[in-house]
Amino acid sequence: MEESRPVKIRVQDLILIFGKNKGHALEMLKKGNSKNEILTKTQCTVGINCANFDIIEGEFFVIMGLSGSGKSTLLRCLNRLIEPTAGSVYVNGDNITRKSHRELLDVRRTEMSMVFQKFGLLPHRTVLDNVAFGLELRGEKKDIREAKAQQAIETVGLHGFSHQSPAQLSGGMQQRVGLARALTNDPEVLLMDEAFSALDPLIKTEMQDELLGLQSKLKKTVVFVTHDLDEAIKLGDRIAIMKDGIIEQIGTAEEILTNPATPYVEAFVKKVDRKTIITAGTLMHEKPTVVRFGKDGPEGTLRKMRTTGLDVLPVVDDQQVFMGFVWVNDAVQSAKREEKTVQHILLTEVPAITTDVTVEEMLPLISATRSPIAVIDKQSRRLLGIVSQNSLVIEATRFNEQDINTLKEYANNN
């Protein structure tokens, strides 16, 4: 994500308290009392406890947590379907929480649309009339709103279903209608509340893929709530993990997996299939000791190997461009032959990858030669780091013996 893009939504010190004695509960919360203390003293439940975050324009932001974590509530505070107790929500720098009811209606009609888990379609209307509903509420003329609705229907792939009633459609199709309805208003922000949670797994995957496609085309800012970590990782540019109304951590999937901020997040992400998320960029050993082609001869190479304790080193040219690897045995032979350069012993037929390659994609590169994998810049082909086979095996297996043996066998057969 480029940091230069403007902030679309800013949430500042957002607090939501359910119950009658909100004032007292808010005071207690600000004094640092715990959720349970507040509940016993005031019978108030803290729904959201001081949420702070920015969502960048065009970002796919996922709020994830288990049921009761406050994630859907937080989402509803963004368009004030639920009134926050304290704090501010800014959209395009405009404080939503200060707006009058009339202004708020305008925000909902033009700037933010929402997609719901249970679709929320009107059963007595056709697909077309459902999709045009937002424009109808806005007071658009019939022909204009139907033209726009038809366009949205095409966008979500419901061509030919305009005149059916929602009850005739499958769950996945109904959610497409929900999505089309949200898109018809041409909002800048899409709020999606467990939008795919009610769908069966195959349809869910299909809808996720299509949503990602739409997002890259339409460049909407998406705030997506889910309880499914795999979904969060697949969709989110960044993920906020919530527990008991508190945002435990915000970061990219990889940041959260490799560097969980709290024990809760750590426990949560344990189950995830890391192989598809951890990339070479994370795994690589940065700024490795290198052999400079033309500068270091076999003797110099051997000296470097002795100090680092490694039996294989990458070779780069004077531009830092990766050339290949030299092994210690070859260097010894070469030194005996009193050669000046490593040209003859340089192995160039070796794997080189970019930082975004995942562990899963790297696994086929494991071989009996146990050659490390070079990580290079895509354009300049400069060496950025190396991934040793050991670290790759460890990452892929997480010390599971069975997995290690399978990998070993696989490597020996290669």
Binding site: L81, S113, F116, F119, G120, L121, L122, F133, S165, G178
Partner: protein
């Protein structure tokens, strides 16, 4: 047993006060109400019987199917042949007028009690009272306010027949799924838009069940209203009772039943057409 608390006395005083102080108001209602009922009656009685029967049968055919249409045709012809056509049309006029007035009051009350807890807490016991109080009791204030005739008959009928429409309207609105209402709110719908475009359309089937109940209760009350000279089939039934004329009693009673079945089946069919 001796009376310790005399609630009846207070009610009587209140009714008397209303009579004395709101006389012009009651007179106005009586005049306009009677005019309404009588013009309805004039239309129904004045239309040749074969046209009315044809219309009913056609509506039944279109909305409720062939069997109901055949029953409607035969039933109404039987009523005509028994010689109760005019009385039946008088009764029908009274039912239609009462039902219209009852619904005009019931729908807003139902919507209000669905939306407001306070309103619900006030309206519900009132409805209980209206429904469980023996129907004959309403005849007394009706006569005191409006003397005898068609309008007091309609007055008693409206009180007796209104509650199910209020209750079912409230129920229908409360049963609209919260996620649909929330979706409408998220799109920027105002309260009025939510009511008109979401809640009422989705509650329509339940509301129509209430309308059906109101019509049937009107019919049963209209017969009782025969005791205060509201005319129609009620008076014939009463005549049968007074003279111990089993034939007359049965025939007029049968006409009531036929009318009830026809009205029930047709209004139910309207409800079932909204099959979502």
């Amino acid at each position: 047993m001796e009376k310790i608390i005399d609630i009846g006395q207070y009610i009587a005083v209140a009714v008397k006060w209303l009579m004395n102080n709101l006389r012009p108001f009651f007179d106005f209602i009586k005049t306009t109400g009677n005019a309404g009922i009588e013009s309805m009656e004039w239309i129904l009685v004045g239309t040749p019987f074969y046209i009315t029967i044809g219309l009913f049968a056609a509506v039944a055919w279109k909305y409720a199917g062939r069997r109901v249409a055949v029953f409607t045709l035969m039933g109404l012809v039987l009523i005509y042949l028994m010689g109760f056509w005019e009385e039946t049309m008088q009764t029908l006029a009274l039912i239609i007028s009462s039902t219209i007035i009852a619904l005009i009051m019931a729908l807003p009350l139902g919507i209000w009690s669905a939306k407001s807890q306070t309103a619900n807490r006030i309206i519900r016991p009132l409805l209980d009272l209206m429904q469980t109080m023996p129907a004959f009791v309403y005849l007394i204030p009706a006569v005191l306010f409006f003397s005898i005739g068609k309008l007091p008959g309609a007055f008693a009928t409206i009180i007796f027949a209104m509650p199910p429409a209020v209750r079912l309207t409230a129920l229908g609105i409360q049963q609209v799924p919260a996620d649909i209402v929330e979706a409408a709110r998220s799109l920027g719908a105002t309260q009025k838009q939510i009511l008109l475009k979401v809640e009422l359309p989705l509650a329509l089937k339940t509301i129509l069940t209430g309308v059906n109940q109101t019509i049937l209760l009107s019919l049963s009350m209209v017969v009782i209203a025969g005791m205060i000279a509201a005319g129609g089939l009620g008076e014939k039934v009463l005549e049968g009772i007074n003279n111990l004329d089993i034939g007359l009693g049965f025939e007029s009673g049968l006409s009531v039943v036929i009318l009830a079945i026809i009205l029930d089946r047709i209004t139910q069919a309207f409800g079932n057409r909204i099959n979502r």
